[in-house]
């Protein structure tokens, strides 16, 4: 009797599925982890930029918000022209870029080799990870008072802030990338006669390069956040400084102009990173 009873649940499932139709309904927009047609991609990308612009124009046109707080797009463009005409925009961009790039570059110079060493050697990891794990939870802006106390109001504290803010995250991201290097690839190299240093430089480093560039992209965005923070607190020039001065004089159009410039520069740097990744790691393209 028992075998017959054991078949019953199977029959029950059969009946249930025939009663309720459970086929996956077709869709284009909601396909999980799949590509959408090219025209749709561009269409949606345009919407994501144009729609907020339209909303902005409509709000300012109807004057539903005090123009003092929300300038019209035309006013913002005028502010941009004004600022670039007297050269202050170029100067601000120059200072902010210098701070971001030098802080980021120094952080990369240390974090990439350190991250690779930490990822490759459990010994180095044990030696450094506890400290880094604590320090990285200290918000970088919280270091500003100390940096000002130690280094005054010059360029050094600002560059250092970006350095501190980028260093630890970048190190840990590079370390994680190294953990994904297939062990067999490393062992293979040993059996070909490779020494440890060769494995580090000629196998692990090229393997993680695409991920290192990705980590750089992410942390470059963090650097831009920090430069504005640093300039809001203490600076005589720079995009963050421009915004905080504009606030004092209620020049909202200049605040908007500054924000847009920061966004555009960030986007440009992001695209440059992607381009670099494409050129340097064409093998990793999917």
């Amino acid at each position: 009797m028992q075998p017959v009873r054991m078949m019953n649940p199977v029959q029950a499932i059969d009946e249930r599925s025939s009663r309720a139709e459970r086929t996956l309904p077709p869709t284009v927009f909601w396909r999980i982890s799949e590509a959408i047609p090219q025209p749709l991609t561009w269409g949606l990308a345009t919407v994501s930029i144009v729609l907020p612009l339209i909303v902005w124009v409509m709000i300012t046109a109807t004057k539903s918000v005090d123009p003092l707080f929300l300038p019209t797009p035309v006013q913002v463009i005028a502010a941009l022209q004004r600022l670039s005409a007297d050269g202050s925009l170029t100067k601000d961009i120059g200072f902010s870029l210098f701070r971001v790039l030098s802080g980021f570059f120094c952080a990369a110079l240390i974090s990439i080799p350190l991250g690779i060493l930490m990822g490759a050697f459990a010994s180095i990891r044990s030696l450094t990870e506890p400290l880094i794990a604590i320090v990285r939870y200290m918000p970088a802006p919280a270091f500003i008072p100390l940096l000002i106390l130690y280094f005054g109001l010059g360029e050094l504290p600002k560059v250092l802030l970006i350095f501190i803010g980028t260093l630890f995250f970048n190190t840990l991201m590079v370390m994680d990338a190294v953990k994904f290097v297939p062990k067999e690839l490393i062992e293979m190299t040993y059996t070909l006669g490779g020494q440890r240093l060769q494995v580090l430089l000629q196998v692990i480093t090229p393997y993680v390069l695409p991920n290192v560039i990705d980590a750089g992209r992410v942390n470059m965005a963090a650097s831009w956040n920090l430069v504005v923070v640093a300039e809001l607190v203490a600076a005589t020039e720079g995009l963050g400084r421009r915004i905080s001065v504009a606030q004092r004089f209620l020049k909202t159009d200049e605040i908007f102009a500054g924000l847009i410039v920061i966004g555009l520069i960030g986007l440009t740097i992001d695209l440059l990173f992607r381009l670099f990744q494409r050129v340097a790691c064409s093998w990793a393209r999917d």
Binding site: Y190, T191, L192, G193, V203, A284
Partner: protein, 263 residues
């Protein structure tokens, strides 16, 4: 004697206690010989190969290659893994060249060597192609060429065709046999495929599982050329039946033991 494994013992510390992976392994491979070890999963055959390669250290016993005791991995023992282990950012010829580069061999010599081994594995016209554009069988050919290019004393193969489809596998077996005859390389290979082992090797060690030991040694004497049709030869089938029986017997036995234990 070329490669010699004596009284090899390997155990691992696991959470469940000590796991004996290999026990009292004694075997040898003569110069120019093609030897296979067959066994089911859990027979420790991969561990055995890793010990030979020097990627693991034995708990007791030793491995000697050309009289020298193995203490770590080195270019005298070429290795081919089951999974494709090509360097994805290097093209085919750079992959083959890499071992020579690591050892500081001058560029002119390297180029010569690379073009010879690409010719041997029949991939000359794919020299500039990246690994991701190759089929599984081609990837393994590159891996074999790369291992051969450093001119090892012995080639260690870890189920090199395990991930290939049946048709490609047959082609690759024929290819490997031909390569062995052509280059007179000493080869030690592990596999779970009994037919593959008989087809390729002169000698077979049959391993049993838990703990991994060598159960029996077979000398494969097959009359005539080894081509695909030899698999239908009664002699071939006798070997196959005997080895399969041996493996199956042990497998059943251990299955029964485990079941008995769990009740």
């Amino acid at each position: 004697m070329h490669l010699e494994v004596s009284n090899l013992h390997k155990q691992f510390q696991t959470r469940q206690g000590i796991l004996v992976a290999l026990k009292d392994i004694n075997l040898c491979v003569e110069t120019g010989e093609f030897v296979c070890a067959v066994g089911a999963s859990g027979s420790g055959k991969s561990t055995l190969l890793r010990l030979m390669a020097g990627l693991e250290t034995p708990t007791a016993g030793e491995v000697r290659v050309a009289g020298r005791r193995v203490t770590g991995p080195g270019p005298d023992r070429g290795m081919v893994f089951q999974n494709y282990t090509l360097y994805p950012w290097m093209n085919v010829s750079q992959n083959v060249e890499f071992g020579l580069k690591l050892r500081g061999i001058p560029a002119a010599k390297r180029r010569q060597q690379v073009s010879y081994y690409l010719e041997v594995v029949g991939l000359t016209q794919f020299a500039k192609v990246l690994p991701r554009e190759l089929s599984g069988g081609m990837k393994q050919r590159v891996a074999i060429a790369r291992a051969l290019a450093v001119q090892p004393q012995i080639l260690l193969l870890d189920e090199p065709f395990g991930a290939l489809d049946v048709q490609t596998k047959e082609v690759m077996q024929q290819f490997l046999l031909h390569l062995w005859q052509q280059t007179q390389t000493t080869i030690f290979m592990i596999t779970h495929d009994v037919e593959e082992a008989i087809f390729l090797s002169q000698r077979i060690y049959v391993m049993s599982a838990r703990p991994g030991t060598i159960q029996r040694e077979f000398h494969i004497d097959l009359a005539g050329d080894r081509t695909y049709s030899i698999r239908r030869h009664p002699q071939f089938q006798d070997y196959r039946d005997e080895i399969t029986q041996l493996l199956r017997g042990k497998e059943l036995e251990s299955a029964i033991v485990t079941e008995g234990a769990s009740v």
